[in-house]
Symmetry: C2
Subunit: 348 residues, 2 copies
DNA sequence: TCCATGGGTTTGAACGTTCAAGACGAAGTA
DNA sequence: TACTTCGTCTTGAACGTTCAAACCCATGGA
């Protein structure tokens, strides 16, 4: 029973032509103040809303931003994307865009989905997450001239400046965490990370290594690398804490590994460590400030996801609102690098 | 540089009319086999994809399903929606639909968003989550004749049969959990829930109460109600375990409360309980099988979110594909009630 | 007086698709 | 033979919007 008010209805009631109504909505400055007001009144009165499909057909702009929603890999980190997505939807709406979801199992099928979407729904732009070395998705979009922003910097060096991106400074985060531990009196501070090469993982490791180096502490053999599962974190932490490295604190690349490390630190087999330094209980810091961290009292680094999402929208909108020429030329907006913040809880 | 292949291009190359191409795609049976094949070949060759905007303008169907993405209230439960959303996007794609996101702070603003979306993007249907008593959203959509499905049954009795819904049987879940505890030898089994009235909360409480009653156990004073936060769960569990109720196990309405209960059960102040029955360590079972549950070894009830999402899409698609008559008449498809499954971990 | 200027408005056309109606030939029926 | 039916295909028109161009009228300068 929806009445379906069209621009022609508004025009008729307001006693003007279709085009004038269109002008009131799109380029108000070319319409006489008096007429403009009259039209706006009628628009409100009839509850007119511009039909996207028709507008899109004429202008080629859908006001749609597409983003992929991941299957939560192994649970814990899932909520990060969730929060980012919420921020994105919110910011996009404020800029007059809506968010369209899609899924894909790997890069190849994601590119196939690009083609599908561009052919059918014609989203104005994409937001890519989880960028990695030699990411074929970015190059494909660049190649086709499709506007996009990545949440995650381009890890391949050469592609660096070729598209806009937003990222969180992982190294700055782990550096802050390491300083926090140094301030608490720890000197032998270990790191639980992911195997290299991993853009995100290497970045986070570097902040820890740099900070220890600055403090004049040799970090040789204080690092471990493993895949991102709680059990792996526990094993690696056991290995590190059980050795004669003297480690009393751990910075971890993720909350998953940190939760594992916490288990290890509290395990009976390592009770002697606690007895050895009762003034310095083993400290653990995670990354991402997931709900799990909150639940188990894990100190962790929180990413400003809302801001990151807002930046993505801002950058994308800037490209989309830019002239065709500006879009074609490679003048992509400056990247945005945000700082995570340390949320201190019981674990450190 | 995208070529933008239209139906006219395909028609020209294949040597037929626009309409024939359209028929090949929409009603293949009216086209001669030979012609059909020729057209399909050209479609593949040129990489033609039907333009949604144009199709939508003509047919009034957008092939878009809208759903709200919540701000994760307080963390732990957030990932439930996340997983549901992924399943929804996946199932929708298989049925030829895409998922459009929106946000809203409360029911009123959500209804306002309905109007906005229906006026502009014209989604074919909505999926509502978090249904509750006297939900104004469902009535508004019913009123306007907009197709929708709710994930969560209608809790107001009278509205019961008026729209299709999908839900997970909370009572069946807590009943299974309670039986699991009974089988393990527990008899004094407590329940940590939310204050009544709460559709979901009352339903889950009922499964516990019923099962105890069936086992001939009086559950008076074995239940507690509190808001959904870890600290609240801990306090309530303390209260219940500390009393002389003899409680040795807890079924909880959510993982948040269960995590709190776990803390309480392990707290030094209650060590005497463990000593009293060393054969029966205090058991805790949560609800939702969140990443937190997995991380802390909490036994929990897992909702079949993928199936739930698939059912939502199926029901919605059935309405949308139905004839106009069927849509107008109140013959809404039968509701779907799915069973959660118990994931057993260390805590019970 | 005539023409150029420019602000404000209107008119036709087009975007790509599908609906409704019709055209055409072959085959069946009276 | 003529009329109907059927399968296959084609032709205008329409969905609601915006672009491009034209129109109208008041103003001002030559």
């Amino acid at each position: 029973m929806a009445d379906k008010v069209t621009i022609a209805d508004v025009a008729r009631v307001a006693g003007v032509s279709r085009q004038t109504v269109s002008n009131v909505l799109n380029t108000p400055d070319v319409v006489r103040q008096e007429t403009r007001q009259r039209v706006l009144d009628v628009v409100g009165e009839l509850g007119y809303r511009v039909n996207q499909a028709a507008r899109q057909m004429r202008t080629g702009r859908s006001r749609l931003i597409a983003i992929r929603i991941d299957p939560d890999r192994d649970g814990i980190n899932g909520s990060v994307l969730d929060r980012f997505l919420h921020g994105l939807t919110d910011s996009a709406a404020r800029s007059g865009y809506r968010v369209l979801l899609y899924t894909a199992d790997d890069d190849r099928s994601e590119v196939a989905t690009f083609e599908d979407l561009l052919g059918a729904y014609e989203p104005d732009g994409f937001v890519l997450t989880g960028t990695h070395h030699q990411d074929p998705r970015a190059s494909w979009l660049l190649d086709k001239g499709v506007p996009f922003v990545t949440f995650g910097r381009p890890w391949g060096k050469e592609a660096e400046a070729r598209h806009p991106w937003v990222d969180v400074d992982g190294a700055a985060g782990t550096a802050a965490a390491t300083r926090h531990l140094l301030d608490a009196g720890h000197t032998r501070i270990g790191f639980l990370g992911w195997p290299s090469p991993s853009g995100v993982g290497d970045d986070r490791r570097e902040g820890w290594a740099r900070t220890l180096a600055e403090a004049g502490i040799d970090h040789t053999d204080l690092g471990r690398a493993t895949s991102d599962a709680v059990a792996d974190g526990e094993a690696a932490a056991h290995d590190l804490l059980g050795s004669d490295s003297g480690v009393t604190a751990l910075v971890c690349v993720s909350d998953s590994l940190a939760v594992g490390a916490l288990h290890a630190a509290r395990s009976p087999g390592l009770a002697w460590r606690v007895d050895a330094r009762p003034d310095l209980p083993i400290a653990v810091i995670g990354f991402d400030d997931t709900p799990v961290a909150k639940a188990v009292g894990l100190t962790s680094l929180s990413q400003p996801l809302k801001e990151a999402a807002a930046s993505c929208v801002t950058l994308l909108a800037r490209i989309l609102e830019g002239t065709e020429t500006a879009r074609a030329s490679a003048a992509s907006p400056a990247p945005v690098l945000l700082e995570p913040s340390l949320v201190v809880r019981q674990s450190a």
